[in-house]
Amino acid sequence: MTTLTAAAEEINSGDTAWMLVATALVLLMTIGLGLFYAGLVRSKNTLNTFMMCVGAIAVAAITWALVGYSLAFDGDAKLIGGLGHAFLSDVGFTPRDGTTIPHLVFFAFQATFCIITTALVSGAVVERMRFGPFLIFAALWSVLVYAVLAHWAFGGGWLQAQGTLDFAGGVPVEMGSGFSALAAALVVGARKDYGRQALLPHNAMYVLLGAGLLWFGWFGFNGGSGFTTGDASVLAFTNTLLTPACTLLVWFILDLVRNRQITAIGAATAIIVGCVGITPAGGFISPIWAMVLGVVVAFPCYAVVAWRPRTRVDETLDVLAAHGVAGLTGIVFIGFAAQQEWNGVADGLFYGDAGQLGSQLVAALATPVYAFGMTYILLRVLGALMPLRGSATEEAIGMDIIHHGEEAYASGEGAILIRADAPSDGAARVREKV
């Protein structure tokens, strides 16, 4: 694979076609996440919440192309990659080592992972963090946290080297975002009305629609993480259907037992939890074990979702529960149920290899520590340089008007045009009087 001609022959058109589609599917997840998050906040913060996801695309795609990809995927140093691929150096049409797809496609696919993960963290700070500081945070986080964890788990770093199995990102994406979200919520602080007023989702339809789009995109996320159209991808693809379905049903039952009613917001949450749970395990466990995982993962996540609002920690959209805890569960579950018969790589405890469980537990301990610690330090430093959140008055008016000068549900009534193509004197006078 070192010479150009030999490499060019290795490209598989079927694999490449699928990976192109999978990349687009994963990018769609960030828009789905925007809908999901926007539905969960109050109407005055709809646009700002969605814009944090859009902002993550703007920022993380660029940092990824400039340095992030290289730090994650250049070389197999223990802690962090090199700068050999910085500015997309040597990333072209020849296959990425170990794959049958063009290096550029591999880069683009990984870029969409960095984007969605960065967007995920915003769920902890919506409705009060200022937009500018968020963009700066997102840019730095995508390099200092995401790229490092991606190197550990995917790029030949120490977790991968010591045998941790992570199919599609339980370490960098799910635990990385979940435990970073906890740190972000602690540093930025709770919304001013948190614990004093009922802060309700303003549009449950967006939440369901967003969850549906996320699930749809997740077939590319997990199904593409084998980088081929081969067995592992097919297995992960199918498991992405089965696990969330089981999580949904268990969530229904838990809702029934606790509140005697099955909730729509709960269902949307369950879809995310199931998809997250199968993310690390998708290509490593059998479909039946994937269904078991769907059942198992519902319990700790449901517990954290129920418990978190009783605390003073305003981790607003439960990124820790839905991503951190679910990702951790999936990572550990691999240690039990991985099956060489299905994955061709390794067995878990149930199939005779207790060592695999050990490798998984190392990742389950190290990732939260790094993600939480680095994010905490990063935001503390940023917070010393600039205010991370606006005043209480700005928070009361809402982030949409304060930071974007727009409303999600503007009626237009009562508005006076003050600067059109041909400005009128009357409008200008009105403005003077205000």
């Binding site: 004093r196 007023q197 008007i401 508005a415 045009l417 193509d421």
Partner: protein, 122 residues
Amino acid sequence: MKMVIAYIRHEAFEPIRADLLVKGFPSLSVSEVKGSGRQRGITERYRGAELTNYLRPKVKIECVVAGGDVRLVVDTILKHARTGGVGDGKVFVLPVEEAYRVRTGEAGEEILQSHPDAASNA
């Protein structure tokens, strides 16, 4: 009987509601309204158009109480709705001629709010 109508900031509603409940005035109506007053408009931009919206969202509370309770209710609203900034809102007190409870057809001041001494009749 008097009707108290208050136009207030959204964030003032919860404290007022909680305080009125404690003081024995659970019955009120709330609506989301838009209005314009001395508070300056908000400048918004949509594509090429820049505009100022003078209609600002407010919460409207309507609460009918016995004449003797008006001072207490109005003071409660003033206390929680005042930030000192332009745009805190307005309170109006209007006379009410008659009042009926639909379920029973009862009339008069007794039906307005469930005071502690009225609760035993429920």
